[in-house]
Amino acid sequence: MKSAVIVFPGSNCDRDAHDALALMTGSAPSMVWHRETDLPAGLDLIMVPGGFSYGDYLRSGAIAGRSPVMREVAKAAEGGTPVLGVCNGFQVLTETGLLPGALLRNAGLNFVCKIADLDVANSQTRFTAAYSGPARIGIPVAHHDGNYFADEETLDRLEGEGQVAFRYAEDINGSARRIAGVMNERGNVLGMMPHPERAVDPVLGGADGRAVFESLMGAA
């Protein structure tokens, strides 16, 4: 599987993403700097990693969302390439309009950093097919702006169309309907606040994130 990780000034989970993809897919991803105006050809996955792109100035993910490389990512997504945005990457994808909604400051105002219990809300997607049904999994979270917001009509539509991929087992940040991860309508773009790339090796506290990558490899 051929993958790429987008790197912004201030990204800090790009190397975790790199190592997880190398481990899971057997080949190292291309690391693509934010100023690039071309992506490698034939990608099976583009990962937009976590961190504090551009210092999170203006709004989390706002400046990164308008960077040159994101125009290419948007084009690739429109062409059907799978895109996975984690944490700050999720914020970037909402800012570019590739995913509905927005991420607000956590309702409790605290930075939340722990292993969160998640429910796989839809295991019939290209990102979750390797989970067996509605599983309960533990995936690390580390964020300040993870409070998912969308208007009621959008939330109803997301749930009706099966676009909610993951839900927090309990409320940790105020997210509407405890949404932890959502997909676009076509199902090839997923944004999630929890970090599956930090949960691919039991030595690091858990391996419940492996199935996200296994799902993608199964679909590639």
Binding site: R59, A102, L104, A150, G174
Partner: protein
């Protein structure tokens, strides 16, 4: 010419920071404060001499970058 852009969360969007500020003001004895909302003010220096044109350009900037209209609304003032 300057443009002053006010960006604030839409009514109905939770503003936990505002809530914390209102709570702290109440704690200081300002019991009359029943709510607070936190926004941003962005001042732009513009080369444009035409106020009407500038206003339109700045609105475009708000839509494209300065505000996220999913959660925020904005207001523009042009200063000569």
């Amino acid at each position: 010419m300057k443009a002053v852009v006010h960006v604030e969360l839409k009514p109905g969007v939770l503003d936990p920071q505002g809530k914390a500020i209102a709570h702290a003001l109440n704690g200081l004895g300002f019991e009359d404060v029943s709510g607070a909302r936190v926004g941003k003010v962005i001042t732009l220096d513009l080369g444009d001499a035409d106020a009407a044109n500038a206003e339109q350009r700045v609105a475009e900037m708000c839509e494209k970058l300065l505000a996220n209209t999913v959660i925020e609304r904005y207001r523009v003032e042009i200063e000569g």
